[in-house]
Subunit: 453 residues, 2 copies
């Protein structure tokens, strides 16, 4: 076996964290530092090729917080490291997350400096969760933000996630399917995502299936008979247009057998040109109802190019460039202490200054479009606009059941429709206005003055 | 709960696959197609900024193959999709992987068109595993290949993985730590990777710890007393050089208490300049033994720049740019059918042609350096060089226990030392020579002729 420790679930373990969280907890424990800490999760700036971000991952984060505990196997491992004291390990045995969480609903558009999630709780609890909280929300938000661009570029055409094989492991494949669905993808090829999140799953055949048969049309016929409700043919194994002619050739036979041909899939070559040729061959063969599905190195730029070229493509399967977001391969979400024991805190490391205190984001709308946000203190007496952060957890318990994914998806679609027009473009737009309230600036000044360093 | 199906382990499920694998399996089952298929796992070309790839992920792939089976919950989900027949689902209940696997040992350098792994087994078994096999090996290989460049740039300086929070979910964080260790990283901050793979773990404090104290030196002192064997101070929360002076200031007190200061960590600003200033302040304060650890947006280019600038940095913590490999954010590993029922198969999709048959890679060495590889048939009577693919699994069972990670790491280090000098550079080098044997070219021609499409 390649694992040296058994009994620990590597994808559900509380040890999915950085060691420094635990060494800090040992120190907090020794010092008795357990007053209320307020942490914000946010990004400091947008990546170059993003005009906005779309929040995703909250439900997985809340699942994590509710389930968080140390198992005997995990405690035994920590003991073996020799880094921790017996009393501290006994304390971990009873450790739970008992704090409060406010967050933007999943599918909400957000911008730099705006907390997408705020944790308030005893310092050790609010501290320990940092690594996994970022790990869960940073990735899903990156994917949802990328997928939202594809949804905007696709202008209503069907999008399906094909990315599992190029995702970074199991959970990445699973969460990418979910995050893409939040942003408007209709389904996924990843079976576990269907089983886990109830997402529609789709898929038919690979080139290997065609290659395992001596003749291409034989592969198509046999597949259709095995999967009469799912007759979608991959037509580019040898020659795409020839493959289409074979589909037309077997259509009468399948019709006699009562099997409808749903679609053909193109996976290589010049998709704009080939899709037009394929459409012509299908239409000339009486197969006007057969859809064209395209896949192969697609992203929002290519989808827009194909749309602009008038490619008659009905649906897109997007893989690698969805799940790895290669034009913006990471977000830099951070989780920062903003208040401890009732006093504002502010990091001043070069280029990494933060806004202290317990904050809220207010959004102003004008004629159904977002007009500007204000970052202010949560207890601001005169806010302008609607508050984006909502309470979702109190004393470690969810305040409501997770909304169905359909509801999250509807919220995201509404958010995307409210974006200022310039921000909907694939080109970089002027920054959306986020103002810092005077009271918040004042608090930051006070925090700077009070930390006598 | 945000999960709709219970009883399925999302990170260990056989449903970590694309739906089309299962629809193809239903068709293979109906058609009785179960003869021996040979699939190769390989890349078609190197990404732009890679001179070589370093194989990783084999042990997780073999774990997966050995454990592969359908649980009652998984079968119940598949039944609910309505896509599959009862007889087929009964067949899946007994489904196991019984094939053979040959592979390059982890830590082996490889190049385009070279199979890093070859599967030979009944078509349905060899087919089903495609998605997860790629998912496991593509990611670890990408990370090991990125980490190898950091190891080359670091020239022996300690490297530690700090990437968990920016990794794509749980398994990505875990496997990135492992893949980095394969390539020469000394350890990781990710606790679960220590528990799972026995990797050394490291970590001390975050900015929040410093901010939770009223005075920086108080934070350092208290931390050192809680973690007397792990006194590493993060010194950039307010001002890096001032932070260093505080470390010097508390050093006599800690010395009296018998607590050694191990290192200071820089996490922001101009690391080259700051590390020199910090070194001077430490040395002037009699702390010549205290190491300097740097982190913050590091990668191989930055490590080389710091080294070239003479920065006195002893160790590097690398996070985001290790686990997301942003200069090459994906590999395009593919798994292609090369032979079925004893006959060579060859996909001819535009730009995606493959080399058919059961192959081997031979590597020639000259004066301890790799000189060139030959891709040829496994039964080539006159090979030149040493074969890279070795049998690792027969009839679904491992032929030997997984080698210890230390052994894999040694092999990788040896491989990196054998690279032609140009390929060790961070700059793109001329392609390493991989020749295709005449017998293999002949087989490809025959495969093309025999597939009358």
């Amino acid at each position: 076996m390649s694992r040296v420790t058994s009994g620990i679930d590597p994808c559900g373990s509380v040890l999915l964290t950085d060691l420094y969280q635990l060494t800090m907890l040992q120190a907090y424990h020794d010092e008795g530092l357990a007053e209320t800490a307020v942490f914000d999760l946010f990004v400091r700036k947008l990546p170059e090729r993003r005009n906005f971000l779309l929040a995703a991952g909250l439900e997985q984060a809340l699942d994590y917080l509710e389930a968080l505990r140390f198992t005997p196997e995990e405690l035994a491992y920590l003991e073996r490291t020799g880094l921790f004291g017996a009393e501290f390990l006994a304390y971990l045995r009873e450790f739970r997350f008992t704090g409060d969480v406010s967050a933007m609903p999943e599918g909400t558009v957000f911008f730099p400096d705006e907390p997408v999630l705020r944790v308030s709780g005893p310092l050790p609890e609010a501290q320990l969760i940092e690594s996994r909280l970022i790990n869960l929300m940073n990735f899903q938000t990156m994917i949802a933000s990328k997928a939202a661009r594809m949804a905007l570029a696709g202008e209503g055409r069907r999008l399906v996630d094909f990315g599992f094989r190029r995702a970074h492991g199991a959970e990445a494949g699973l969460m990418a399917a979910r995050a893409a669905a939040v942003a408007g993808f209709e389904g996924t090829a990843t079976v576990i995502a269907g089983a886990t999140y109830g997402l529609p799953i789709s898929g038919t055949m690979a080139h290997a299936y065609v290659l395992a048969h001596d003749r291409e049309e034989e592969a198509f016929l046999r597949f259709a008979r095995s999967m009469p409700g799912n007759a979608v043919f991959l037509i580019d194994t040898y020659d795409t247009v020839e493959g289409t002619r074979k589909v037309v050739g077997i259509a009468p036979q399948l019709k006699r057998e009562g099997i409808p041909i749903r679609a053909v899939r193109l996976d290589s070559g010049d998709l704009a040109e080939l899709s037009k040729q394929v459409r012509r061959v299908l239409d000339a063969g009486g197969l006007q109802d057969v859809k064209i599905l395209a896949s192969g190195d697609l992203d929002e730029y290519e989808i827009k190019r194909l749309r602009d070229a008038g490619a008659p493509i009905d649906a897109y399967g997007v893989g690698t460039r969805l799940v790895t977001s290669p034009d913006t391969p990471y977000l830099s979400m951070v989780y920062k202490l903003q208040e401890y024991a009732g006093r504002p805190r502010r990091k001043r490391s070069a280029g990494k200054e933060t806004w202290p205190g317990r904050k809220q984001v207010y959004r102003k709308m004008e004629a159904g479009r977002m007009e500007g946000d204000a970052l202010t203190l949560a207890d601001d007496p005169n806010p302008d606009g609607a508050p984006l952060l909502q309470p979702v957890m109190e004393n470690g318990k969810r305040l409501a059941a997770a909304p169905p994914l359909e509801e999250i998806r509807r919220h995201a679609a509404e958010e995307l429709s409210r974006l200022p027009e310039a921000l909907r473009s694939l080109e970089t737009a002027p920054a959306y206005p986020v103002t810092i309230s005077p009271r918040l600036r004042q608090l930051a000044d006070e925090a700077d003055k009070s930390s006598r360093q």
